[in-house]
C-alpha cells in the first residue's frame, strides 16, 4: 500500500513548520509565532494548499499529454505524422501555449465585456475544479466525498451554461448560434448521462468513487453487467465533452469557430486546455465507474496502481479519439433524436437490468 498523499504531505508540513522553522523561531525567542505555526489550523491549511497544487499540476500535465496523444493518434489515423516539435512531438503543445501567450488580448467593442470576460473564467474554473473529486489511486486524491460522482457530474453541467453566456456576450451571430446549440445539446445528452449512472449506483449502493472501485475489486468490473450503460455513458460523455462528432457548438464548417469565434490569445488557449482537462476527467470517470478504476489482475502487481489507472484512462481517451477520426459531425436535431429516442430508452433498460441483478442478489 502506498502512503496516502495527505499523510505524506501532512507529515512533511509538520516537519517543516514545527521541527525546522518552528524550532528556529523558538530559538530566536518568538514563542507565540512558534505556537501559531504548530497549531493544527495552520498545518492543515498549508497541507491543503500543497495537495491542491500537486493535484493541479499533475492534472494539467496529464491534460497536455492528452492533447499530444490526440494529435499523434489522429495523425496516424489520417496517414500523417502529427506533431513534430521535440522528441516524438512532445513539445508542440508547449510551443503552441507560448504562441497564444504572446498574442494580443482583444475584447470586441460591442461585446458585453463583463460576461465576455467572465465566461472563460467559469469554464476554466469548473473544468479544473473537477480534479478535486477524482481519485487516481487509493492514496492519491484530494477529497474522499460521499457524493463524489454527483459533484463531478454537476460540475460538468455548468460548462454549457458558460458557453451560452460567452457566445451571447460576444455579440456575433456565429457565436450566438453556437451558444444556443450548446443549450440545445445539453437537453439531449444530460438525461441519458445521469440515468446510465443510476445503474451503477443501484448495484454498488454508493456515490463514492472509492466505494464503487472497491465494489468492483470485490465483485466484477461493472462493464460486464452494465455494458449497455457503459456504452450510453460513453456516448453521452463524448457529447458532454463537446468533442467530435458532437462538437456542434463549435462546428467549424458552418460557424467558423462556433461560440468561441471572438475569443483569442491566451483565453482561446486556456479554453482549449480546459476542454482536454474535461476530457481527462470524463475518461477517468468512465474508467472509475465501469473499468474498475485502479483494479488490476494479480500478476500485474508490479505496476503502480496510479499508473495503471492512468493507462486505462489513456485507453478510454484513445477510443474517444478514434470516434473523432471516423465520424462526421451530427446535426442538432439528429443529436436530440439520438439522445431522446435511442440513448434514453437504453439507459432505462440499463436501470432495469441493474434492478434485476440487485433483487436476484447475483452481485
Amino acid at each position: 500500500m502506498y502512503l496516502d498523499i495527505w499523510q505524506f504531505l501532512g507529515g512533511l508540513v509538520h516537519w517543516l513548520l514545527v521541527d525546522i522553522i518552528g524550532a528556529f523561531v523558538g530559538w530566536l525567542g518568538f514563542h507565540g509565532l512558534e505556537g501559531w505555526l504548530g497549531s493544527p489550523g495552520v498545518l492543515n491549511f498549508v497541507t491543503i494548499l500543497l495537495v491542491a497544487l500537486i493535484v493541479f499540476v499533475v492534472g494539467m500535465l496529464i491534460s497536455i499529454t492528452l492533447i499530444w496523444q490526440e494529435r499523434k493518434t489522429l495523425g496516424r489515423l489520417m496517414d500523417r505524422r502529427g506533431t513534430q516539435v521535440g522528441p516524438i512531438g512532445l513539445f508542440q503543445n508547449f510551443a503552441d501555449g507560448l504562441k497564444v501567450l504572446v498574442k494580443e488580448h482583444i475584447v470586441p467593442e460591442a461585446a458585453d465585456s463583463l460576461v465576455y470576460n467572465a465566461a472563460p473564467v467559469i469554464i476554466i474554473g469548473t473544468s479544473l475544479a473537477m480534479f478535486v473529486t477524482l481519485p487516481y489511486s487509493p492514496g492519491f486524491y484530494v477529497s474522499n466525498s460521499e457524493l463524489g460522482v454527483l459533484l463531478t457530474l454537476a460540475l460538468f453541467g455548468i460548462v454549457p451554461f458558460a458557453v451560452l453566456l460567452g457566445g451571447w456576450a460576444s455579440n456575433n451571430k456565429y457565436t450566438l448560434i453556437g451558444g444556443m446549440r450548446a443549450a440545445a445539446q445539453i437537453i439531449a445528452y444530460e438525461v441519458p448521462l445521469l440515468l446510465s449512472v443510476v445503474g451503477v449506483i443501484i448495484l454498488t449502493g454508493s456515490l463514492n468513487f472509492f466505494e464503487i472501485v472497491q465494489w468492483q475489486q470485490e465483485n466484477i468490473w461493472l462493464i460486464a453487467p452494465m455494458i449497455i450503460g457503459a456504452i450510453v455513458f460513453t456516448i453521452s460523455m463524448v457529447a458532454e465533452l463537446e468533442r467530435a462528432p458532437f462538437d456542434l457548438p463549435e462546428a467549424e464548417a458552418e460557424l467558423v469557430e462556433g461560440w468561441g469565434t471572438e475569443y483569442g490569445g491566451m483565453r482561446f488557449g486556456l479554453i482549449m486546455m480546459s476542454e482536454y482537462a474535461r476530457g481527462f476527467v470524463g475518461s477517468s470517470i468512465i474508467t472509475l465507474l465501469f473499468l474498475g478504476g485502479w483494479d488490476m489482475p494479480d500478476f500485474l502487481n508490479f505496476i503502480p496502481v496510479g499508473l495503471w489507472f492512468l493507462l486505462k484512462m489513456f485507453m478510454v481517451f484513445g477510443i474517444i479519439i478514434w470516434i473523432r477520426g471516423a465520424l462526421p459531425r451530427f446535426r442538432t436535431d439528429q443529436l436530440l433524436h439520438l439522445g431522446w429516442r435511442r440513448l434514453l430508452p437504453l439507459a432505462a433498460i440499463n436501470i432495469a437490468i441493474a434492478i434485476v441483478f440487485k433483487t436476484m442478489g447475483w452481485f
Binding site: A244, A326, L327
Partner: protein
C-alpha cells in the same frame, strides 16, 4: 430568436473560395438564401481580349485550379472551331485521357472538401493523398502539377513520356483499391448517411429549369452528359456509360461523383488500349483567326462548360464568353437551401463542388 441575415463569406470556412452566401435564418432554419458573387472577379473575359490566341491557353488553365486541363481543352476546341483546324487523331485520344485523369483529380478534390464540410478531417487527408498520385501523373506528362498549359490549338504540346502507360495503369489499380476504402469510410458509415440522405432533394424538372448540368443534374435522374449527347474528341469510340441516380438528394450527388470516378478509371483503361501509339500530335494553327465565331462545349467535372469566341479577323479575340456550370448551379442556392438547417449549408453547397475561379472569372 428573431430572423436574421448571416453572411457566410467572403472569407468563411464553408465557402471553398471567395464568395458570399447570405442566408436568412429563423433560429437554425434557413428561410431565405442569396448568393453574392463578385468578390473574386478578375475580369477574365476582358483580360483575354488583349491576348493573342495561344496566349490565352495558360489563362484558361487558371479558370479553375481543380480542373485546369478541361478548361484549356474547351478553349482550344473553341479556337479550333473558329480557325477551322483539324486535330490529329492521336492528340484527340491524349486529350480525352487527360480529361478523364483530370476528372478523377478534381473529384478527389471535391471528396476532400466535403469531409471538413461534414465535420470529418480523415476523408480530407485520404483524398488529398490519392490526388497526389494523379498530380504526379500530370507532372510526368507535362511538367506541371496544377496549371498544365498542355493543350494547344491544333493538338497537345508533347506526347506522353516513356512508361506512361505503365505508370497510369499502376496508379489506377492503386486508386481503385483506395476508392473501395472511401466507400467503406463514407457509405457504410451511418452518420455520413444521416447527414446526406434526404437532404435538398431536387426533382428532375426543377433541376432542368434551374439550368443545372453535370453530376448535380444527373443525380436527379436526367440522362444528360455532353460526352454522350454531343460527343467531342473520341468519346463515341470509347466503351463507357453514363452515371446517374434517381433520388436527387445530396447522397445521390455524392454517389454519382463516386461512380464517375470509377467510370473515368474504366475510360482511361479503354483509351490506353485503343489509343494510336504513333502519329502526329499537333498541327500548326494560323496566327490570325478569320472573322466569325467559334464555339465548343464539353463535360467539365462540374457540368457543362462552354466557351464562345467572336473574332474580328485579327490575332486577338474580339470577345470571349465563358459559360461556367457552377455560376448556374450557385444561382439555385435559394431553392437548394430553403427549409434546411444552418448545419446543412456546407454539406449542400459543398456537394456541388464549388470553385470560384470559373464562377467569378
Amino acid at each position: 430568436m428573431a430572423e436574421m441575415w448571416i453572411n457566410m463569406g467572403p472569407q468563411h470556412p464553408m465557402t471553398h473560395g471567395l464568395w458570399n452566401l447570405r442566408i436568412k435564418v429563423d433560429g437554425e432554419t434557413i428561410t431565405d438564401a442569396e448568393p453574392v458573387i463578385g468578390y473574386l472577379h478578375r475580369g477574365w473575359e476582358k483580360m483575354v481580349e488583349d491576348r493573342r490566341y495561344p496566349q490565352i491557353i495558360p489563362m484558361a488553365d487558371r479558370l479553375c485550379y481543380g480542373s485546369s486541363f478541361t478548361w484549356s481543352h474547351v478553349y482550344c476546341m473553341a479556337a479550333e472551331d473558329l480557325m477551322g483546324v483539324e486535330v490529329p487523331e492521336r492528340a484527340k485520344w491524349i486529350r480525352a485521357m487527360s480529361d478523364e485523369l483530370q476528372r478523377i483529380g478534381n473529384h478527389l478534390m471535391w471528396l476532400a472538401a466535403i469531409g471538413p464540410d461534414l465535420g470529418n478531417l480523415t476523408i480530407f487527408l485520404y483524398a488529398i493523398r490519392e490526388r497526389e498520385a494523379f498530380l504526379d501523373l500530370f507532372q510526368s506528362l507535362c511538367g506541371a502539377r496544377m496549371t498544365y498549359n498542355y493543350c494547344r490549338i491544333g493538338g497537345v504540346r508533347n506526347a506522353a513520356p516513356p512508361n506512361w502507360e505503365r505508370d497510369v495503369l499502376r496508379t489506377l489499380d492503386y486508386f481503385e483499391k483506395r476508392l473501395d476504402e472511401y466507400e467503406d469510410l463514407v457509405d457504410r458509415n451511418k452518420v455520413f448517411r444521416m447527414r446526406m440522405e434526404d437532404l435538398a432533394p431536387l426533382p428532375a424538372k426543377e433541376a432542368i429549369n434551374l439550368g443545372f448540368t453535370g453530376p448535380t443534374l444527373r443525380a436527379s435522374g436526367v440522362k444528360y452528359d455532353i460526352r454522350h449527347n454531343d460527343p467531342y474528341e473520341i468519346y463515341d469510340q470509347v466503351d463507357w456509360h453514363m452515371c446517374t441516380a434517381d433520388e436527387g438528394d445530396t447522397y445521390a450527388r455524392y454517389r454519382v461523383r463516386m461512380d464517375e470516378m470509377r467510370m473515368s478509371v474504366q475510360i482511361v483503361r479503354d483509351i490506353l488500349k485503343k489509343m494510336p501509339k504513333d502519329g502526329p500530335i499537333r498541327v500548326k494553327p494560323p496566327r490570325t483567326a478569320p472573322a466569325g465565331t467559334g464555339f465548343a462545349r464539353m463535360e467539365d467535372p462540374r457540368g457543362e462548360s462552354l466557351i464562345y469566341i467572336a473574332s474580328d479577323g485579327t490575332d486577338k479575340p474580339f470577345r470571349v464568353k465563358v459559360r461556367s456550370p457552377l455560376f448556374v448551379i450557385l444561382s439555385g442556392a435559394k431553392v437548394l437551401l430553403k427549409g434546411y438547417k444552418v448545419a446543412d449549408v456546407p454539406s449542400i453547397m459543398g456537394m456541388v463542388d464549388v470553385c470560384m475561379g470559373e464562377t467569378d472569372r
